[in-house]
Symmetry: C2
């Protein structure tokens, strides 16, 4: 496990929304740690260590772990504990199949249902996103938070808590993937372009263009991910 820094993300997290019980804070802490790549895929999560890390007792910790488990971020094996979920090429394909379905729909719904306030918020989130990429020192954690914020606005704007929830789990894992692999600058530039197109369509409430931009973005992201995964596996072997 790698070093850590602070996190102030507003997180649209997983499960019962922000209350400040210890369980919730613990769960949030673990989630961000995983999303920021502090653990490698497949790494075992020992309860003892996590207790020390978070300062929570085992009862609390385990409740938090159950939450992350249902969200698919970690997996449990009987009498063998938890470990960070591994994402095979197949799993990534499945995730993208579902994500495409949902996110495209979400984009479409956003153009229909988002309030003007939310349009502004999206515009702002887009500016932040641009900032992130323009700035010299590329900060992965900041990037993650910014993307999270963007998606938060997008998903909220489509006025369907259920879709938001389902997409939440999915996006978490996509963000996790990004933390681990694919940070090639070339893709970063292209990705930004796609986001620009999508945002423009969303702001103009152009349903057709939004759907198209969403599809294009998803397809490109999926290909890039699978490509870098293949590359990575080639290097390992």
């Amino acid at each position: 496990m790698k070093p850590k820094t602070q996190d102030q993300s507003v997180s649209y997290t997983s499960g019962s929304d922000s209350d400040s019980t210890l369980r919730y804070r613990t769960q949030h802490l673990l989630r961000t740690a995983i999303l920021d790549g502090d653990y490698s895929a497949g790494e075992k999560l020992k309860e003892r260590e996590l207790c020390e890390l978070t300062g929570a007792s085992r009862s609390i910790l385990r409740e938090a772990l159950v939450n992350l488990e249902v969200h698919g971020l970690i997996v449990r094996e009987s009498y063998r504990g938890y470990s960070v979920a591994e994402l095979s090429a197949r799993k990534i394909s499945e995730i993208f199949e579902l994500r495409s379905l949902l996110e495209t729909q979400a984009a479409e719904l956003f153009t229909e249902r988002a309030s003007d306030l939310e349009i502004d918020a999206l515009s702002l989130a887009m500016k932040e996103l641009e900032q992130c990429l323009v700035d010299e020192d590329f900060n992965l954690q900041r990037m993650r938070q910014t993307k999270e914020q963007y998606y938060h606005v997008l998903f909220s704007g489509c006025r369907n808590e259920e879709i938001r929830r389902a997409l939440g789990s999915i996006i978490d894992r996509v963000l996790y993937l990004r933390a681990k692999k694919m940070v090639e600058p070339s893709r970063r530039k292209a990705s930004l372009d796609e986001f620009r197109k999508l945002t423009k369509a969303l702001i103009e409430r152009d349903q057709f263009a939004a759907r198209a931009a969403s599809i294009a973005h998803l397809q490109a992201a999926r290909e890039a991910l699978l490509m870098s995964l293949a590359e990575q596996q080639a290097n390992t072997c």
Copy 2:
């Protein structure tokens, strides 16, 4: 809470698949209790009672509750405990919006990807479903198990664990709704017809017809649910 009987359903449940730790069994027990309508919507779930009911200790029980919470079957309020999730008309609409998106896609994928074995399984599940409705004494629990089985086969056949997972949570809540409201015989008959059409299309791997049947079924189900909800509320007031 009402009396209970046995349950042997194979359940494609929620979260880490069938292992036989106490936590899993507890979670399964609670889930079926809720799905079979043993608790009324909004009813408070006192941990003490549930401990006695399930025989598990609080640690285990609470872990099970966290699972059900993430699946949206129950809701938690700080320092006020859990209660069965209430499903407003709005919530039902949201659920159906997501469900339509996923289930229609699932039906389509099934026609493409299901193995011949799975086609047979679906055919069998359909026969069971017919049996359920033909038999004199209508048994709600059996109906729930049978539907669950049908959906299990359908979702498995579309070869996407992620879609299956997302649909799982959704269907659970739909089954819960059915347990509570809408059991009008008229709708039952119509529903069976819709299932027949859908099944036929799926078995024949007719993608277009499957999608159409799925859409038709979902729309009818949604309308019936909202209708009976409105009726129910009218009676209450």
